[in-house]
């Protein structure tokens, strides 16, 4: 039998002892072997900053294109010196411009949604202030005409519905002209729209909170939770805060006064607005604040570290409710 012709096997590539040195510059990748450039990849100026963030991936691809089998050594060039290295290869590279691009990308992708919560929460505070200002001003203004009804209404919502309307009863008020009453009515419309705006911002905060901090939102309430994030500065900061700090968050002035002048320390700050606060005796509020703060502290940690994914509020709420019932 004829022996089958032995096929020529391709020569096995030798594993080189000398390592391939890969220089990672902010404008490209360069592979050197035995002192010689064997492969390079140069990026357009506009791509450099973006590529900086995916350099691991790019290096991997780059390696796969190098024909030499050897160990790799990495050499990173960064900083103003990289301009000199670029020059050697005839590349124009401006490190300052690169850092501007890089920083812009860091800012863009470093954004987190708790910043939206903070803006919305502050907007809500400001809206409340504006509503109060309108309410006070218009009570005076409209009160010239119909003081009896101003006296009777007991909420701003109710007030916004009647302000500017014609009287339907005998009044000690002055008989304002049509044009005066009209102006008051126009201001009243603004008040109405502020009230409806407040509603919308509150709903927006509630939605956002259930997205980024669902546990904090359930324990603290969405608006109080948002306010806590706002005063802490970020969800991260809230998550890292000791619960004793959360307890008095928003009472910084009283706290400083305590430290400096030895006045009584505050027992609560923002947490006074928590809905449970009005359900316990005044004397128990400090205790409740401490309890709330400890649960919120846990909730904020879960929210921050799980990026809003983990939901454990049921346990927390149950525990909280049990302890609160002991307080009453």
């Amino acid at each position: 039998m004829k022996r089958s012709k032995r096929r020529k096997r391709p020569k096995k590539q030798k594993f080189e002892k000398e390592p391939v040195k890969i220089t990672i510059a902010p404008f490209g990748l360069f592979a050197f072997h035995k002192g010689k450039l064997v492969k390079k990849e140069i990026w357009k100026p506009k791509e450099c900053a973006q590529n900086y963030f995916k350099r691991e991936e790019l290096i991997k691809k780059f390696k796969s294109k190098i024909a030499i089998k050897a160990k790799y050594e990495k050499n990173i060039i960064f900083g103003p010196e990289s301009e000199k290295f670029a020059k050697k290869f005839g590349i124009k590279f401006n490190f300052q411009k690169f850092m501007i691009d890089l920083t812009k990308l860091k800012i863009k992708f470093g954004f987190s949604k708790d910043k939206l919560v903070i803006q919305a929460s502050n907007m809500l505070d400001e809206t409340n202030k504006m509503i109060n200002m309108f309410y006070e001003r218009l009570s005076e203004w409209y009160g010239f005409y119909w003081p009896e009804i101003v006296e009777r209404v007991n909420s701003v919502e109710e007030f916004s519905k009647i302000v500017g309307k014609k009287r339907t009863e005998q009044s000690m008020g002055f008989d304002l002209e049509e044009k005066d009453l009209k102006m008051i009515g126009i201001a009243g419309e603004e008040l109405k729209s502020l009230i409806s705006f407040k509603e919308k911002v509150s709903n927006y905060i509630e939605k956002l909170m259930s997205e980024i901090a669902p546990n904090t939102s359930k324990i603290a309430g969405p608006l109080v939770g948002a306010k806590l994030i706002s005063v802490a500065g970020s969800l991260k900061k809230l998550a890292e805060m000791p619960s004793s700090t959360i307890q008095v968050l928003g009472a910084e002035k009283a706290l400083f006064r305590h430290i400096r002048k030895g006045t009584k320390p505050p027992k609560y700050g923002i947490l006074l607005s928590h809905e449970l606060m009005h359900k316990v005796k005044q004397t128990n509020r400090g205790k409740l604040a401490r309890l709330l703060a400890s649960k919120i502290s846990i909730a904020a940690k879960i929210d921050y570290y799980s990026q809003g994914k983990e939901k454990k509020w049921e346990e927390l709420l149950k525990d909280l409710e049990e302890k609160v019932s002991e307080l009453k």
Binding site: G79, E81, Q96, M99, T103, K106, G110, I259
Partner: protein, 223 residues
């Protein structure tokens, strides 16, 4: 109006009704912070307000030296929106470099607009307590630090390794960010003791009336 050179490089006295200091504008016509620009014999000066910059306040208060030179490389820790850093940039000029480290993206946003005009300002969005984030800065001639955090001396000692032999550092300390209850003079005394372990204190100036409860130290390296 009278314009005279001060004893410090790149810094001028402008005498109008009031005596003020100024630098030569590196980017003529550009005044990002609403500062006053004064043109005189074809040179444009930028007024450096001591109420808006602690270094300017230290100069107005008569600090002995301000050893910053044209062409210097500077590490600026806590650059914020780049207001003071922009004057340092004027002084070191085209050939110099100001590495602006700032942790807050919000103020860095403003600094970027300035750096886009002043090409010797290099933005670095990083934490000054972690210099490994910007090791690439290399050796510098001067460190300015104004971070207003509790561990201010720590921040400086961590960054000291960047300082060239014979280099200088200037640090602004706000007593409030260290302790709200203690007396500023006590705090400053303690800070001075701390600083003396690592540096030679060339001069120090309280910044009143420009800035309350602040002090600036000019430091040089111990050999």
């Amino acid at each position: 109006m009278k314009i005279t050179k001060s004893k410090f490089e790149g810094i001028f006295w402008i005498e109008n009704e009031k005596k003020k200091i100024a630098t030569i504008n590196l980017v003529p016509g550009y005044a990002p912070f609403g500062e006053q620009l004064i043109k005189h014999k074809n040179v444009e000066y930028r007024i450096w307000e001591p109420h808006r910059s602690k270094w300017a306040a230290a100069i107005m208060k008569g600090i002995k030296e301000f050893p910053l030179k044209k062409g210097n490389k500077v590490l600026y820790l806590g650059a914020a929106s780049g207001q003071s850093a922009s004057y340092i940039s004027d002084i070191v000029g085209d050939r110099g470099k100001v590495f602006c480290v700032e942790i807050s993206p919000r103020v860095m946003r403003e600094l970027i607009f300035v750096a886009e005009k002043k090409n010797n300002m290099i933005p670095i969005l990083a934490d000054a307590t972690n210099p490994s984030e910007y090791e690439f800065v290399g050796e510098v001639d001067f460190i300015f630090q104004d971070v207003a955090v509790k561990e201010q001396v720590d921040v400086l000692t961590k960054n000291k390794k960047f300082l060239k032999k014979g280099g200088y550092a200037m640090i602004a300390i706000k007593s409030r960010s260290i302790d709200v209850s203690a007396k500023p003079s006590e705090i400053f005394k303690n800070i001075e003791k701390e600083l003396e372990k690592h540096f030679i204190i060339v001069d120090k100036k309280r910044l009143e009336p420009y800035e309350m409860d602040h002090i600036v130290f000019l430091l040089s390296q111990k050999s």
